[in-house]
């Protein structure tokens, strides 16, 4: 693969943001930059809009939890500049003892919509500013937890019979109401008790 070359974006980032760039490394030819969670959105926006960077394509958003329980959770953004044919990987470390929250980049790249929902579903990391953060792969009232966390066993927490019972009890048409469709557009106008229900992961019921 050749020698490990650091992406020129690292130097540009350090010039622009200074100490906010915590550290960087190169792994298998890819450059990875670590930034604090509070500055992530600002840095990503700059990477997208700055004429020297132009990372206009969001390849992926995901999260990583290590087997070593003391290492923090990482949220990973893979960015690409189509015009400059350059890649960059940005990471934020989230302490597992604190609330797992980071800013959403939905306002920068619309592709972040479902990607962030999946990270929420699989890891329990919330993205503030996301228009409609709810589970996407598991059903919305899924009670077993966040599957890709390391403390979640491969076969799930509950017994197979209990999983089957919960699955059969979920009415497939229960999430088929105007409430759900309106959430993104009119969340503020929903009544307080419905917001409360939604906050607990419950979705609408069909009459």
């Amino acid at each position: 693969m050749g020698e490990a070359t650091v992406s020129p974006s690292v130097a540009a980032l350090r010039t622009r943001f200074g100490g906010a760039i915590l550290r960087h490394q190169v792994s298998c030819g890819d450059t990875i930059v670590y930034v604090p969670a509070a500055r992530a959105h600002e840095i990503l926006a700059w990477l997208k809009d700055d004429p020297g960077q132009r990372f206009n394509y969001l390849t992926d958003i995901t999260a990583v939890e290590y087997r070593d329980a003391e290492r923090p959770l990482e949220v990973v953004w893979q960015l690409r500049s189509l015009a400059r044919k350059a890649d960059l990987r940005l990471k934020v470390e989230l302490d597992k003892t604190a609330p797992l929250v980071v800013d959403s980049v939905f306002d920068l790249w619309k592709g972040a919509d479902w990607l962030e929902r999946e990270v929420f579903d699989m890891f329990g990391i919330s993205f503030t500013g996301h228009p409609d953060l709810r589970r996407i792969l598991m059903w919305e009232t899924y009670a077993e937890g966040f599957p890709l966390r390391k403390d979640f066993p491969l076969r799930g927490h509950f017994s197979r019979a209990e999983q089957t019972r919960q699955a059969l009890a979920a009415n497939p048409e229960a999430h088929y109401s105007l409430e759900e469709l309106s959430i993104a557009a009119a969340y503020d106008e929903l009544p307080a008790d419905m917001k409360d229900r939604l906050a607990h992961g419950e979705r609408g019921r069909v009459k």
């Binding site: 076969r155 919960q166 059969l168």
Partner: protein, 205 residues
Amino acid sequence: MGLTQPEGEAGTEVSSMSPNWVTTRLDALANWSRANSLWPMPFGTACCAIEFMATAASRYDLARFGMERMSFSPRQADVLICAGRLPFKLAPVIRKVWDQMMQPKWAISMGACASSGGIFDTYTMVQGIDTIIPVDVYVPGCPPRPEGLIYGIQLLQKKIKGESFLDPDLRQEHMVGPEGLFLPARKIDEVSEPFGNSVHQTRSA
């Protein structure tokens, strides 16, 4: 033939009719016509659905066996072919589709995932659709070759031809029980346990 005894009747089992030449001829006619005109309800989820499509295409041609018309409406279908893996999120859907099908109906579990969970012994996967709906024929394979599926269909046809309308258990609807399960909980846990090499495959690192 789906009628059950009303409550309070004495428990003597006297069949109303004994098998004779007339009933066997009627059976043969009904079973022959049913077996050779099974309309499948393709409940295709994953890779097996692609092999199902290939079986229905011109090279293997399911239409030869009477499965000319795929019925995507359960109301008009005879046999539900679950082709592919079934996650728990899809379990109430297949249960509802199965309940919507009208008797006489059969189910073919196509592929390893539908039969037993396959390679997916994970938090999301139903370990065999027979924990959700009653299954008549299991077709192993990952995915089963079209010839394998055709063999499974022929086994079902054989099974149908062996049916008799005098059998009181024949057209019973097996609904989801009062505690929300189709099979008893103990049975589901028993068939879902990993065995053999699978026991070692739930260890990470």
